[in-house]
Amino acid sequence: MDIFINFISWFLLVGGAFFCVIGSIGLLRMPDAFTRLHAASIIDTLGFLMVMLGLIIQTGLTLTTLRLLIVVFLIFFTSPVAGHALANAMKHRNVKPVLHEDKWLNKLKSE
């Protein structure tokens, strides 16, 4: 039973780390600031959620579990606000998003 719980929680921890790495790769590969935000949002949803679930299973039913749940709720309420604030600031500073009609993107892809 112990091995089983350890297996699940380590699977979640490693999977969360894997998605954090994918999000970071996306952050580097994407062409402009708006699309980079999309890549970053993988990190603080799926990556973060899997790491936290792994930690919750690892601690078992203690007071620490409740504290971890509070952290999960905090991040799930604050991270969209931060993402929206960043996008809104870019809009106000007239940062032009690269849209799919643009030639620049097609050129970038054909290279």
Partner: protein
């Protein structure tokens, strides 16, 4: 007065979770500080119905599991796009008209859009939300309005809020 009692008890439960030390002396100090904070908040006149959204609890229990499923699904989609060597993105800007009537409903909808990877709410003007989506399919899915409907149901009837 019911708002006063319920907010101090929620604060005290929060204190109990964070503290972990349950001697009588510390418990009394915890109760005193919770009540003191709520008195301060009342003096600042920022304690209203929005400060303690208990009435959304039941609709949240229905809405959050659906939202979690949606988040996992679209996070996997965006992860696939990132790994793909061709980087098949078609960034799109669209305007979505929110169906919700209250401020809480619109904020829930805009936050759900941002929380789902692949779509970000950029700007909210009078009656439209400007959304940036990473592929055209994401934008179309959002335009179908499933999430919009669910948020409409989440906010409930207007006279309740």
């Amino acid at each position: 007065m019911p708002l006063f009692l319920s907010s101090s008890s929620v604060l005290f439960i929060f204190w109990l979770i964070l503290s972990g030390h349950y001697t009588p002396f510390l418990l009394v100090i915890g109760i005193i500080s919770c009540v003191f904070i709520v008195i301060l908040v009342v003096k600042m006149e920022i304690l209203d119905d929005e400060a303690l959204p208990i009435k959304f609890l039941f609709s949240a229990i229905k809405y959050w599991p659906w939202l979690f499923g949606q988040i996992i699904q679209s996070a996997l989609n965006v992860a696939k796009i990132i790994i793909n060597p061709n980087l098949p993105i078609t960034p799109t800007m669209i305007k979505i008209k929110p169906l919700q009537e209250t401020d809480v409903g619109v904020v829930t909808f805009a936050n759900s859009i941002t929380l789902t990877p692949g779509t970000i709410s950029v700007e909210i003007d009078n009656d439209n939300i400007l959304v940036h989506a990473i592929t055209r399919d994401n934008a179309f899915d959002l335009e179908q309005g499933v999430m919009n409907e669910k948020c409409k149901r989440f906010e409930g009837k207007k006279n309740n809020v």
